[in-house]
């Protein structure tokens, strides 16, 4: 049996103003403060196309290797809902601005191309807020915010591939700076389509659409749930229906909203208020040239720098993190070492705080200073790691902290030697153990030496010195 998954993703573009008027495009404002006669749909108002939104849509199209349409129109999609101020949404029906793109994801059988059918421009709707006492309040701040809708082909065959696709898509959009792609704020919204085909028995289930998935986790969970449900229907020979469902985050299941046949007829027609759009090829090329380097391109370059594949992928995921890595690598002249520091220590902190690299307090300079302190053996690695934990929050200069607290590593050979001698003398049992083949005893002895130096010694150095003694006798 084969699972077919397709995604429809709405992305709010981070333009300063709305799609068709000069109201602020801003999340979290006081309700109904970013509104004007145009986005409220007052009679007689006319839509003025935001050129920046068109540019962003082209950028998104290029980031996914789409063909960009040069001549297009806008259309009206009609339905009645209180959050839709004009009774129609301005969108693109049959002339989407971008078509025929793809994203490559890792699948069980290696890299796999997931095709993007189309990307079109449209406007967002307002928001309905349902109160506890049964009223509905309307907030039109979001009405008219520019959106792109990205529609994939049903090329994904596991929930994991869908998650990868979505992750990749999110990264790229963030990289090129056309959206802040925050699912929790609704600037990235995902609907999924799924059905299952039994190729041998030539049977398939009808497509289910699951709406309003507000996290990556919800997407995977809902898909896993649906995959099972569809497979079961096929196995049991149950009749399936084309339906629209929603994900219930509490009961962890999908709930049917309606049969698809009951859905709207949107009665598309031409939006005559907006003249047909013509985009010069030279303009598209100009945008293409100025497009920032994309994650997969960065990944390839990082691999060329000697970083292994998995690490290169992780480092290129987030643009801020990638930039952090690149500067660090250059400053300390050792890409692998920079990668290690970022992947093992910095990333752990970021994950712990559930932050992206561009949200953290720690500056690039202080991070590099810390690595340099460790590399120059002014402090040992343990101290460095402890300090990182601290300056991750405070962004203090590690050089100042080392000085103030006297954290500098012991470099006096004689002092180190006397500590080693003491340790050897005090722990004859461990020495005995080592010689009887218990390698772990060495670690214990080094630990004891570190303790005696109050952390200022260099464990590698201790290790070497103790080993010398052990081997000698």
């Amino acid at each position: 049996m084969k699972t077919l998954i397709g995604l429809e993703i709405h992305v709010e573009l981070s333009t300063l103003s709305k799609m068709f008027c000069s109201c602020l495009n801003e999340f979290g404002s006081v309700p109904n403060t970013n509104v004007c006669p145009t986005c409220l749909g007052m009679p007689g108002t006319l839509p003025l196309m935001n050129k920046k939104a068109v540019k962003y849509a082209i950028m998104a199209g290029l980031a996914f290797d789409c063909d960009i349409r040069t001549d297009m129109k806008m259309d009206r999609k009609k339905y009645f809902y209180p959050d839709l101020t004009k009774g129609y949404q301005i969108t693109q029906a049959d002339t989407p601005i971008a078509t025929n793109g793809y994203i490559e994801v890792d699948s069980e059988d290696g890299p796999k191309k997931i095709r993007i059918r189309r990307i079109h421009m449209e406007e967002d709707t307002g928001k309905s807020i349902h109160t506890d006492d049964g009223h509905t309040l309307m907030d039109y701040n979001r009405a008219g915010v520019p959106l792109i809708e990205i529609v994939s082909e049903p090329d994904m065959s596991t929930p994991e591939e869908a998650r990868e696709f979505l992750e990749n898509l999110k990264q790229r959009l963030k990289y090129i700076g056309v959206s802040d792609v925050k699912m929790e704020e609704g600037s990235l919204r995902c609907d999924v389509n799924i059905n299952v085909v039994d190729e041998e028995r030539k049977l398939k289930t009808h497509i289910s659409e699951i709406k309003n998935l507000n996290s990556f986790k919800a997407v995977t969970k809902a898909l896993e749930y649906e995959e099972k449900r569809h497979k079961k229907m096929l196995e049991n020979g149950e009749e399936s229906f084309k339906d629209t469902r929603r994900w219930d985050d509490v009961d962890l299941k999908t709930v049917k909203m309606r049969n698809k046949e009951e859905g709207n007829d949107y009665r598309y027609s031409v939006e005559g208020d907006i003249p047909n759009l013509h985009i010069e090829k030279s303009y598209i090329e100009e945008i293409r040239i100025n497009l920032p380097e994309l994650p997969y391109q960065k990944e390839k370059r990082f691999k060329d720098m000697g970083i292994d594949e998995k690490d290169a992928k992780t480092l290129s995921k987030n643009r801020a993190l990638a930039d952090f890595f690149e500067v660090t690598a250059e400053e300390i002249g050792d890409p692998k070492l920079a990668a290690n520091w970022i992947l093992s220590d910095l990333l752990r902190r970021l994950n712990e705080y559930e932050m992206e690299a561009d949200e953290m307090n720690l500056s690039l300079d202080n991070f590099i200073n810390l690595i340099k302190l460790a590399e120059e053996k002014v402090i040992n690695n343990n101290v460095a790691k402890k300090l990182l934990r601290e300056i991750f929050e405070t962004n203090e200069d590690p050089r100042v902290l080392v000085k103030e607290r006297g954290l500098g590593q012991m470099r006096d050979g004689d002092a180190l030697k006397s500590i080693v001698d003491e340790v050897v003398k005090e722990n004859p049992q461990s020495i005995e153990d080592y010689r009887n083949g218990k390698d772990r005893a060495l670690g214990f002895l080094v630990g004891q030496a570190m303790k005696k130096s109050r952390g200022k010694g260099n464990p590698q150095e201790f290790n070497k010195m103790i080993l010398e003694i052990l081997e000698k006798n």
């Binding site: 006669p37 749909g41 009679p43 007689g44 004009k86 009774g87 007829d265 949107y266 009665r267 907006i274």
Partner: protein, 468 residues
């Protein structure tokens, strides 16, 4: 008969007439005539502005080009702080918070808006009989309809209740009432006058049109309200500053309708039309009968496309943010049904229903798509004709105005008399309707190439002067 801008302004400047007195006389006339030309009057405000202009005149201050000129404004053009009803219960209490661009421009030139003119509801109709506020009477013969949908605009100008009027024209809604009230009505090239603030009916057909007693006055107003407006994405680049008096018909080739008698035209209208053609020949024009192949589809193309546009343009009237709200509902769907059923009149509902049907996807929108194709064919054909000829001339309306109430219950009647009118709207071409003689009579319509409005108006001016 009828006021002229230059005469009135001359009297203001010479001190023979005070603006305030003239405005008062307009309001008196409105009450005396009792034609039902206006839905709302802005008397206090108009008199206040009149006094300010009188003061400016007395102090020899700089005056706007339309100083002291009184206007009737069709009630689907947004006026800030002045109720704009579209002659519908739906907008009975709707007060816009902004001015249409044309209104801004009029105000900036010291024009005086007397009030909002009656019309067919949401501009759907051709007699004013679909107005929620009751019909307008024809000032020439009160038993007759004034035409429509810019009914009050035409009646106000013809009845000396304003010097000039703004109307809107989607399929003849300025030219046909102008013809019925025997004044001049002008539909500009699509894009020449800003639509910002004009309540849409068929948005790719709608234009603000002008109604006046003379071509000269039309041009004076057009020079103010016409020209590029950044708020209208379909606005044509460039400013409008037209001059008159250079045009001569001598040696000009003009296309006229072939087989005019096959169009079921009233005898009087036809006779007046022939009279006008004679006059044109006498002015030196060469008239050539031209067959417009797609003319027979014009009404169908118009009906299909405008209904489709109506159904979406009127979707915003849901009673939530403005307009009629019926609070008797228990679900969102019921709320829409209650407010829209209660707020719209029959004709509006019919056209919304028709447009909705035409756009439904279950027949793949076959008629809508055919309509779009037909529009393109007709446009191309008109372009070819106007490449070969200076103008295309026809009667404005095929009928004389009928009695008020006579055809009210015949919903199909509104679709048949405007064949020559819709030709201009379908093709985005400018057109003007000119009276031929005094009284209830036929008018002619002249259509020219798009954005050759100056030539069109100058030719109309030349034709108009032959009458004197």
């Amino acid at each position: 008969m009828g006021y002229k801008i230059s005469e009135i302004q001359g009297k203001y400047l010479s001190g023979e007439l005070r603006v305030e007195d003239f405005v008062k006389s307009n309001f008196n006339k409105i009450r005396e005539n009792d034609l039902g030309s206006y839905i709302s009057l802005d008397e206090e405000n108009a008199l206040e502005i009149a006094r300010i202009i009188d003061e400016k005149i007395a102090n020899k201050e700089e005056l706007g080009s339309l100083f002291g000129i009184t206007f009737a404004v069709k009630d689907n053009i947004s006026t800030k702080d002045l109720r704009t009803t579209c002659a519908s219960k739906m907008l009975e209490n709707y007060i816009p918070i902004f001015d249409a661009s044309v209104i801004e421009r009029l105000k900036a030139e010291d024009a005086i808006i007397l009030g909002k003119a009656n019309m067919d509801e949401f501009a759907m109709g051709s007699s004013s009989e679909t107005s929620y506020f009751g019909p307008t009477k024809n000032p020439i013969d009160k038993s007759l309809i004034p035409g429509g949908s810019s009914s009050g605009s035409a009646a106000a100008v013809a009845g000396d209740e304003a010097i000039v009027a703004l109307g809107t024209d989607t399929g003849g809604s300025v030219r046909q009432p102008a013809a019925y009230c025997n004044i001049v009505g002008y539909y500009p090239s699509y894009g020449l006058i800003s639509r910002y603030g004009v309540v849409a009916m068929g948005n790719t057909f709608d234009q603000v049109g002008l109604l006046a007693n003379s071509v000269e006055d039309i041009v004076k107003v057009l020079n103010v309200v016409g020209g590029y407006d950044e708020k209208d994405p379909n606005s044509h680049e460039g400013q409008v500053d037209y001059k008159l008096g250079a045009y001569s018909f001598i040696g000009k080739k003009i296309a006229i309708v072939k087989d005019i008698e096959s169009f079921n035209i009233d005898k009087v209208v036809l006779d007046d039309y022939y009279r006008a053609l004679e006059d044109l020949k006498n002015l030196g024009a060469e008239l050539v009968e031209v067959e417009i192949d797609h003319l027979k589809y014009a009404n169908m193309i118009y009906t299909v496309l405008v209904s489709a546009e109506v159904s979406s343009n009127l979707s915003r009237f849901d009673g939530i943010r403005f307009g009629y709200h019926d609070s008797n509902y228990s679900s969102t769907q019921e709320m829409y049904i209650a407010s829209r059923s209660g707020g719209f009149g029959d004709e509006v509902k019919r056209r919304i229903a028709l447009g909705t049907l035409l756009l439904s996807s279950n027949n793949d929108q076959v008629r809508y798509k055919r309509g779009l194709k037909g529009r393109k064919l007709l446009r191309d054909e008109m372009e070819r004709v106007l490449n070969d000829f200076d103008f295309f001339i026809s009667p404005t309306s095929t009928k004389l105005p009928n009695k008020l109430g006579e055809r009210k219950d015949d919903p199909l009647s509104v679709y048949d008399s405007g064949t020559f009118n819709v030709l201009a709207n379908i093709s985005s071409l400018p057109a003007i309707s000119l009276p031929i003689r005094e009284g209830i009579s036929g008018s002619i319509q002249i259509i020219s190439k798009r954005f050759e409005d100056e030539k069109l108006l100058d030719a109309a001016y030349a034709f108009e002067r032959r009458q004197r």
